[in-house]
Symmetry: C2
Subunit: 225 residues, 2 copies
Amino acid sequence: MPKQTFFNLPEEKRQTIMRAAMEEFASAGYDLSSIQKIIKASDIPRGSFYQYFENKADLFGEVMVEITRRKMVYIRPVIDRDAEYGLFELMKELVKAGVEFGMCDPIAFQVAKGLSSSKTLDMVAFLNEYKKEIYQRNHITEESIYLAAIQNSLGRGEIDSRFSVETILAYTGKIMESMGELYWHHLAEYHDVHAGDHILDDMIHILRYGLSSNNLPGKEAGNHD
Amino acid sequence: MPKQTFFNLPEEKRQTIMRAAMEEFASAGYDLSSIQKIIKASDIPRGSFYQYFENKADLFGEVMVEITRRKMVYIRPVIDRDAEYGLFELMKELVKAGVEFGMCDPIAFQVAKGLSSSKTLDMVAFLNEYKKEIYQRNHITEESIYLAAIQNSLGRGEIDSRFSVETILAYTGKIMESMGELYWHHLAEYHDVHAGDHILDDMIHILRYGLSSNNLPGKEAGNHD
DNA sequence: TTGTCATATGACAGTAGTGTCATATGCAAA
DNA sequence: TTTGCATATGACACTACTGTCATATGACAA
């Protein structure tokens, strides 16, 4: 956590520092970023930096808190309606929300994206600690987002009962990642906002039919409501 | 490419340097690794290092060549039989081969794993160049590995014709990655060589039925050979 | 023996960064 | 006006690194 001094700063100065920090983290990644660059870009003296922050990790933590705050603007509405969604719709909406975030706030998005790189021990430890805190602060857990939807879909018979909740939970995150990356890759390649839509549709299609293999029309009679 | 001097070195000395380099890259990752550490660990004077290599990237390139050589020992037999496999068997076998490699040669594996992190521009550029070269050297391309199997499976009607080869190709890599990571994660967690097997089975199951949705018994008659 | 060439060596200059500290500033209270 | 406190400042000492270069070594060829 930054020191109180930082929070006492006038809004504008705080913003300047945060912006400079985000740009540095976005372009260089955590490992290669330097405090030196950040203080030059935000034009604060070296001594002041240490008046505000313990060190680079401390600043980075605050940046991540800000980024999460921003991302939540896009994600929150989807999560709040998770009971209404089946798993597949939920996943689709979450990926879409993520992409929306990435397009509206590319610098913040870039920093978050860089996180999945950088597998230093320090960084892994930080991420674990950070995730716990973030989810707590937002009154959710990574699991809780999907849990309701999975049980929902299982209950409705959309998902074959051969799969355990645990198993599905394990895939969900990884597949979300893949979908996001593919979508993003398509976007970058074709410069078309909806270029990646069919990716989502196809992946969700595969998932839906793959997970429901038992319940397809014809395999079991009278299962279509 | 390292300088000729390096290749003129006695086998043993070359090995020592490569081992030290791999260990450094494995533990620190490319960005945070240092030449200094490597020359201390392999006990060669600083000047000699630059007699052998242009710089860190040069050494890293050679390390990657070595790692690929080692990994190929596990992958090659599978690739050579790709015409026999359907896409799903091929993927399964490739993931298994990858895991086998990771268990037999953890340091090399760790370096390769770290690669998918480190998204510096330099690193991305290097990877593209490197991949091209490696695949050339081994007379394959990333696509060619899966292409035959995909066409195979499409031809046999195992995959719904609604999906283009292009689309399937795009997923394949990402899904392979996810499977590998999940398998590996399970292995680490349960210390059981076959703990991840059901992950593979489940994911392949989902993929198989998801991709073949049109062709399931009952949807179209007389399609089972 | 002497010359030549490849290679070995480590001191060195230079760069980029970190965290600290003595001192300065400015405001508000006594 | 004086004192005290929070904050500001940048010089400084330190560390970790990189790439180069003048010089040393050793083997082989003339």
